[in-house]
C-alpha cells in the first residue's frame, strides 16, 4: 500500500499532524526522523515550526534535502505546511544565507504589523481562493483556518491558489504547482473539520 511520510525535523508537533492525516486519508501514515527511514513514499509531508535557519539545518542534518529533491524530480507528491511550505522556497529574510530547497521559486519575507494587525499572526483567519484556481485547494474558499507565523512566502510565478487578509492586504496562504507540489501556510491539522476536509481533498489524488 502507498505510504504518506511525515518528515520530522525534531522541532515541531508531528504527532498531531499524523493523527489528522490518518483521519483524512486511508493510506498508511509514517513519521520518519531521518532519510534512512524514508523509502520512496507516494507522498511526503514537510511540517515545521520555528525559524527558517533551524529548519534548513535540520533538513541537512537529517539528510531530508535529497529525499525531497528526488521526490520532486520524480513528480511525487509533496505538501509543505507552515515553515515547511516556506522551506520549499529558496531563501528567507528570517535567516539570511540559509538555503531552502528551491522546489518553488520564491522567497520568504517578514509580515509587517499594520492596521492594528499583530505579529506573530496567530489565530483563525479566512482563506480566499483565486477564481481561476482549479486545484484541490479551491474547496477551502471562504473557510477559516488556524495560522501561527511571522513570515510569508512570496512566489515569483503566479501559482497562488489561496490568499488571506492581513494588514490591509493579502498574503499567500496556499498554493499548488504542477499538481504535485502543495504548500499551506496555515495548520490544517489544527483547523478542526475545515482542516481535515482540506487534507482529504489534497490526499485524494495520492494513490
Amino acid at each position: 500500500m502507498s505510504t504518506i511520510e511525515v518528515l520530522d525535523l525534531g522541532i515541531n508537533n508531528t504527532r498531531s499532524l499524523a493523527h489528522a492525516i490518518r483521519e483524512a486519508s486511508p493510506l498508511d501514515v509514517k513519521i520518519v526522523s531521518e532519510a534512512s527511514e524514508s523509502s520512496s513514499a507516494a507522498a511526503l509531508v514537510l511540517p515545521g515550526t520555528g525559524s527558517f535557519g533551524r529548519g534548513v539545518a535540520e533538513l541537512d542534518n537529517r539528510k531530508f534535502r535529497d529525499v525531497l529533491l528526488r521526490a520532486a524530480g520524480e513528480g511525487r507528491f509533496i505538501l509543505g505546511i507552515c515553515l515547511g511550505m516556506q522551506l520549499l522556497a529558496e531563501s528567507s529574510e528570517e535567516s539570511l544565507g540559509a538555503h531552502g530547497l528551491g522546489i518553488v521559486k520564491g522567497s520568504v519575507k517578514r509580515l509587517v504589523p499594520e492596521d492594528g494587525w499583530r505579529v506573530p499572526h496567530v489565530g483563525w483567519n479566512t482563506a480566499v481562493a483565486e477564481t481561476s484556481s482549479a486545484s484541490s485547494l479551491s474547496g477551502a474558499d471562504g473557510l477559516d483556518f488556524y495560522f501561527s507565523h511571522s513570515f510569508q512566502l512570496i512566489l515569483d510565478a503566479q501559482t497562488t491558489d489561496l490568499t488571506t487578509p492581513f494588514g490591509g492586504g493579502f498574503f499567500l496562504s496556499g498554493f499548488s504547482q504542477e499538481s504535485n507540489i502543495f504548500g499551506l501556510q496555515f495548520h490544517p491539522e489544527k483547523s478542526s473539520r475545515n482542516g481535515i476536509n482540506l487534507l482529504r481533498a489534497i490526499f485524494q489524488n495520492v494513490a
Partner: protein, 248 residues
C-alpha cells in the same frame, strides 16, 4: 483578526481543579474528559495549565498532553513548570503546539530568548500574572513570588525576548467570574505588538466583549465555560453582535 475563545483547564496531574485568586483549589473533574467536552463544542483553542507544577518542581505531564493531542484537532497550549528547552521539546513532541511559560521567563536569565530562537516565537506564550492597584508587580510561581517588574515593563521584556503571545491575568479576579480587568488588558495590549490573551475573571459573554474592546486578541476562561450554562457559541454571538469578527 478573529477574536479567539479559549477554555482553560487547570489541572494537577490529570485531575481538573478549580480555584479562586490562584488559591482555594478543589477537585472538579478529569482533565481529559473536560477537554473532550470543549473539543465537541469546537472551541478555537485549548489551554491546559498544571497549577502547582512550578511550585512543586514538577512539570505538566507529557503523557497527559499526548492523550489530549490524540483527539484535539485545534491548537493546544500546555503550561506548568516548564524550565528548560528539553521540557519544551518534550511537550511539543507529545502534541502541544505551544507552551505557556511563567516562572522561568521571570527567573531564568536568557531562557525565553533561547526558547524562542529554538522553537520559534509562535510556540512560546508567556504568562503575566499581575496584582496590585497600579499593576506594579507581576508574580511567578503561581502567584506566590513577587517580581520587581511592573506589568508594562514585564510585557516589553517578554516581547523583546521573543514571546509570541502574552497571557495577562489579574490574580485578584481569577476564578471569581466578576469580569476581566479591562484597564490592565488595555495597558498591556497597547504596550506590545504581539497578540494578548486576556484571562482571569470572565463570568458571562459580555465580559469577553470587554476583553476584545480592551485590545485582547483572545479571551481565556476556566470557570465560566465549565460551570455555567454559557457556551462558546453564546460568547461568539455576543462578540459578533458587538462588531467583533469570530471564527465561523
Amino acid at each position: 483578526m478573529k477574536i479567539r475563545v479559549i477554555p482553560t483547564i487547570l489541572t494537577r496531574g490529570a485531575t481538573q481543579v478549580k480555584g479562586s485568586t490562584f488559591d482555594n483549589w478543589r477537585i472538579v473533574g478529569h482533565t481529559v474528559a473536560s477537554a473532550k467536552v470543549h473539543s465537541a463544542r469546537d472551541v478555537d483553542e485549548l489551554l491546559v495549565i498544571d497549577i502547582d507544577a512550578s511550585v512543586n518542581q514538577r512539570r505538566i505531564s507529557s503523557l497527559l498532553v499526548g492523550q489530549l493531542a490524540e483527539f484535539l484537532r485545534i491548537p493546544l497550549c500546555a503550561g506548568g513548570g516548564i524550565r528548560s528547552e528539553a521540557d519544551i521539546a518534550d511537550l511539543l513532541a507529545a502534541g502541544a503546539d505551544k507552551v505557556l511559560i511563567g516562572t522561568a521567563g521571570l527567573e531564568v536569565d536568557g531562557f525565553l530568548e533561547r526558547a524562542s530562537r529554538t522553537f520559534g516565537s509562535q510556540a512560546i506564550v508567556t504568562s503575566l500574572d499581575v496584582l496590585g492597584p497600579d499593576y506594579e508587580a507581576v508574580y511567578s510561581r503561581s502567584g506566590r513570588k513577587k517580581v520587581l517588574l511592573g506589568a508594562a515593563e514585564a510585557a516589553i521584556k517578554f516581547e523583546e525576548e521573543g514571546a509570541g503571545e502574552l497571557l495577562v491575568q489579574d490574580i485578584s479576579r481569577d476564578g471569581l467570574m466578576q469580569g476581566l480587568n479591562q484597564d490592565l488588558i488595555s495597558l498591556v495590549a497597547s504596550t506590545v505588538k504581539i497578540p494578548v490573551i486576556a484571562g482571569g475573571g470572565a463570568g458571562r459573554p459580555g465580559h469577553f466583549v470587554d476583553g476584545a474592546k480592551a485590545g485582547a486578541s483572545a479571551i481565556s476562561s476556566g470557570a465560566m465555560l465549565q460551570f455555567t450554562h454559557f457556551t462558546p457559541r453564546d460568547v461568539k454571538e455576543a462578540l459578533t453582535r458587538e462588531g467583533h469578527d469570530v471564527r465561523r
